[in-house]
């Protein structure tokens, strides 16, 4: 099993170590590899049950210690766990039925560029590679992905009254200001937003 790991162990592996086992299980999960024995699937499940809370705690710790890049790395790790993909993989591999790196050449774009794609354009790209039903699944999934526009303003005191200003802005040192973030969802709302859940794709793999 060890030979198939993307990030090899640095030291001589200690086969009785729980750290080694967790590392192995998580790497298999991220590469969506199949386990040679079904016992490992149960182990991975209990591992994934814990890991999300642990990563959330790491994120809080990084925020508390004011560490910017470790915090972002922890969040990216969380995304990798949820999607069962490596962040170094093309992001279109998180689409349903897209399980092969060769799809990166077919799409020739990033996930965020596909959110607006027309059904016909998508079908033209994928005909011959996937069935019609599979293309429908991808189209529906893309329509549910959040497409969000951000705009920023800053609110606080400059002189006597509280004001909201646009950025860039002059601010006073050592004073509390509030960044006001306006979020606008741009999606074609073909699906009601309440049904809009991230469906953890890795489950398909685990349930195999």
């Amino acid at each position: 099993m060890i030979d198939r790991l993307r990030i090899p162990f640095r030291n001589e592996p200690q086969f009785d170590s729980p750290h080694l086992k967790t590392n192995l299980l998580i790497q298999y999960h991220l590469s969506r590899l199949e386990f040679p024995r079904v016992d490992y699937v149960t182990d991975l499940k209990s591992c994934l049950d814990q890991i999300i809370r642990i990563i959330q705690a790491i994120i809080d710790l990084c925020a508390h210690k004011a560490l910017l890049s470790p915090c972002i790395l922890a969040i990216q790790f969380l995304q990798m766990i949820i999607q069962a993909r490596w962040i170094t993989d093309p992001d279109i591999l998180t689409l349903p039925h897209v399980n092969d790196r060769s799809f990166a050449h077919i799409f020739q774009s990033y996930l965020c560029q596909l959110l607006d794609i027309q059904r016909e354009t998508l079908a033209d790209l994928l005909n011959g590679h996937l069935s019609n039903n599979e293309i429908d699944d991808i189209y529906e999934y893309l329509g549910r992905l959040p497409q969000i526009e951000l705009a920023l303003k800053i609110r606080g005191f400059w002189k006597k009254n509280e004001e909201t200003r646009t950025l860039p802005a002059n601010v006073h040192a050592e004073q509390e200001y509030t960044l006001q973030i306006s979020l606008k969802r741009l999606n074609r709302t073909r699906v009601s937003i309440d049904r809009n859940k991230i469906i953890d794709l890795f489950n398909r793999k685990i349930l195999l």
Binding site: C71, I82, R85, L150, Q180, L183, R185
Partner: protein
Amino acid sequence: MTTSAVAKPKDESWMFILGNSDTGELICLKRFNGNIRSHTTVSLSFVTSKQLGRQRLTLYFLSDGYLGLDQQIDFFLDVESISFQAQINTELDSIADELDRRLAELN
């Protein structure tokens, strides 16, 4: 979709991080749980630095579940000398807010 202990559909959830990538400092983190509807506003309070002059800050907008949909916005702040007047007004304002809240609870 709920077929196993881990196979739960998950609500969207977001994290906003305000940081200074030049110094590697994380200034503020805020989680936003739930779906962003057509218009939503999120407030992120922070305290400006002691250091004067122009600084570049970045707002990172990260999903906790999707890969490849993260966004970041850079912006500049020109930090000027401390203003006690503005600081006192900020504090008075938050005290006034607190009073309003307590009065509302009493009524």
